[in-house]
Amino acid sequence: MNRCPDKTQWVLYAAGELADRLRRRLQAHLAACEDCRREQEAVARGLSALGALDPEPALRPEVLETLRRRLAVAAAHKAVRPTLLATVYRYRWVAAAAVLIAAALAYALLPSTETPASRWIDEDQFVAEMAEITAGVEILESSAYAGVMENGNGEKAGPADTIEGQSRRPPKDFPNLIGATG
């Protein structure tokens, strides 16, 4: 190996995480390359410095006690509360039966969406109402063209009652369409 390897390879080399074959090649390179040797030594020094830290710092007994208690509670809680999916799966036949019963009840109890015939007015009624409306419009028009200036009570129309000379109030013989419901 003549070319210097990537510097990150020295991390794997120092950590002992290389395959034997690659490790031997790097070793051979180190013997011939002063720069890489310095690089590798610096990386290895950093890695061994970490050994000064206590890998398993002691925990206070009360912390460990609390931890044990909390873990036991969490594990027990988890054991008695299976997930929703697991519950549904366990009772899948009961769930299917419940869905079928609910569907049958809904079909039986909910009102039909079909519109009853009684909600429609029949043709005779429609013709009669249209005739009444037409008659009212004709009376209105004839009154307006005749230049009626009185209001509906036979009084003389004032400025507030007229628009361009026409009364805004209906004449006395105007049929009461709103109240006329047969």
Binding site: G46, A52, R60, L67
Partner: protein, 177 residues
């Protein structure tokens, strides 16, 4: 730290076995022992609650440490907290207090000094660089496992590790042999 997590009877004890190392990582990440204790508990509780989402193809240990790192990052984001110094003596039980049988009387002092030196150097690293080293050390994870757990390319993880280790190597004096 090698409990059989697939055994429901054994899950709690397996998780408790992770507690010291998870706490160690969190302590170096957030810089506060009290917060690290809380986050460690939260990490392991989340693990027990989300065992169903754990993908067996990944390492369980990597998954646990990934939860811890995410919680620490959330906390730091909320606090906008960068630890100025990652702890000196804070009253915790220290294994440095008594000299080992084959070391000189000033051994504990030298070890404590060196540990503080490493802690200071770690505090100078950026959070992502520091996290890679801490996952490697406390999680005892290979770099490829860290890459898989954090969903980052291996090249990115190795670049971070290289930058961080070079800096540590430059900042920390050689250990006297």
């Amino acid at each position: 730290m090698t409990g059989r997590v697939n055994d429901p009877e054994n899950v709690e004890e397996s998780l408790v076995a992770f507690a010291p190392r998870v706490y160690g990582l969190l302590r170096r990440l957030v810089g506060r022992p009290d917060v690290a204790e809380d986050l460690m508990q939260e990490t392991l509780l989340r693990a027990v609650r989300s065992l169903a989402t754990y993908r067996p193809e990944g390492k369980f240990r990597a998954w646990i440490f990934c939860i811890a790192v995410n919680l620490a990052r959330d906390w730091m984001r909320r606090q906008r907290h960068e630890p100025a110094a990652l702890l000196g003596d804070d009253g915790e039980v220290s294994p440095d207090a008594v000299p080992a049988p084959d070391e000189p009387p000033d051994g504990p002092v030298l070890r404590r000094e060196r540990r503080r030196c490493v802690e200071d150097a770690l505090a100078r690293l950026s959070e992502p660089d520091r996290t890679v080293l801490l996952m490697r050390y406390y999680g005892n994870l290979a770099f490829k496992d860290i890459a898989r757990a954090t969903d980052e390319p291996l090249g990115t993880v190795l670049s971070r590790a290289h930058r961080a280790l070079r800096k540590l190597g430059d900042l920390i004096p050689e250990e006297p042999s």
